[in-house]
Point group: D2
Chain length 166, copies 4
């Protein structure tokens, strides 16, 4: 069954905030990756998923876990632009890396959102140490269940050939 | 002492949302007015004062009470513009009238914010039926204390010459 | 209509906690009285109405308002006895006067609970300065609505013949 | 270091609620055990740890995880007796097994509380599948951190000789 779990497609990001270098999933192998896809004017994102992203970063600081925000704007593009996002990240005190999902040449849905099959915001994606998508959830996941998943993934070995069948 | 309580200066608003006609304080005499001054990217406004404004509107529906939002942008003007505010109001399901505080010809602080002496966002201003400023508070006021003030003001007579000394 | 609002029947209390002298409603005329009827092992009481009673006491300290707890035990009498209540009040840091509703000679429902027509716990009863029952509610009342009622009642004159029609 | 992690001493329980048969830790090998030590009149237990115990039971239903309550009464013994606890468990809708920690022949602190070195209530103890104490915490642990620990322990193999060094 492990074969059914595909390696997550690469991020397609127009611009990064809060990181000197672009984040690359391939370069993050060996770490568990928690990615919160959000829009800055989405109430569920602001009240639930953004605070959870901050809690995860605070709880797993120094561990083999990477928290990433992905600004997947699929509506109201004019007002949720890069400049507005920078103000948002500053006002809400977000210090984790945030990528701006690459706008599509045609249509409203940006490229990573398309490639990953995200259904809306907030969405929560978790990759294991090998880069496989172990969770891709539209909506909120409570802290207890999410914590359990992270604990399990952190307990898995780093090397691909040691990775257990999920 | 009553003489010390001044009638609130008129609102200076560039544009109104959620109302067919501009709101005018003079035309609202006889009603208690609750005004929430906010900025759409201010976390304290989004998590506390905006939900409170919605609760007030829901709790006092049909009563002699008017809830108004005032978008007092004093920083990051470029991204907290009228178009962005409209998206914000739509996404957060705000149905009460919202005025955009008139930008100053010089300086960052808009005109009503200046005239009313507001210190920042969120600010809560309450006017009695006569139009006098009975509360002008920077920060959050808990529901119990605010409810008590509103109950007291709603119990006051409408006619100015009947208004009690506060 | 005012005539339809009856003066609340006297409290029938077996024992008082947190007060050197028994509380008597007749002796409390001129003050607004907020009475929380509860049972110490009732979850809704413990999580909602007891904390609200503490907030009211804290918010209206020094004002013409009296907060009273009434332990209206109508089930599990053996374990919700006076000794247990004292431990409960101590552990939860309750400092307002608490009366133990007088058990009935026959049946489970204590006497004040019967006389006041309380339907269960938590119940919230509010008396105006004249001693009339202005609210008798089974369940929780949110802070905003309760605050508005208290503000209105505190604004009413003390003397009975000045009391407005509610 | 694994050798330093001792197998948790056996539970010493005077009476069980919510289980047809006594719970025995030795009989629970192979499962992760989450034990909430509480007192029914301890506010921190009632508002935080009891709800968390219910969440854990709901989130990990059908999994290899056992939630146990332990009523470790070390004060006010007269009012926090078995009969009162049964009412408490009924009113709060607790369905997981609850053991009453065996009172000591001398002194206030019951026997399991002594043997496990619990410092007060609430306390949270987590045992791995092998029966080793992996957490013994006085106070509250947030859901995210606790979830991560549970996820990690659930990922560990069942057989003692396969158990990793923690």
């Amino acid at each position: 069954m492990s074969t059914a779990l595909e390696i997550a497609p690469a991020l397609q990001v127009a611009q990064w905030l809060n990181t000197p270098e672009p984040i690359c999933l391939e370069g993050s192998r060996g770490r568990v990756v928690v990615l919160h896809a959000f829009q800055m004017l989405c109430p569920g994102c602001v009240t639930q998923s953004i605070p959870q992203a901050k809690r995860i970063r605070a709880s797993f600081a120094g561990q083999e876990l990477l928290v990433i925000g992905l600004h997947t704007v699929f509506e109201h593009h004019a007002v949720m632009n890069a400049e507005a996002l920078q103000v948002f990240a500053h006002e809400y005190g977000l210090s984790f890396p945030i990528g701006i999902d690459q706008p599509a040449a045609r249509g409203d849905v940006p490229l990573t959102m398309q490639a990953w099959g995200l259904k809306g915001t907030p969405s929560l994606v978790v990759l294991d140490r090998v880069g496989r998508m172990r969770l891709n959830h539209f909506g909120h996941v409570d802290d207890l269940r999410l914590g359990a998943l992270l604990g399990r993934l952190l307990a898995e070995p780093v090397a691909p050939d040691q990775a257990p069948l999920p």
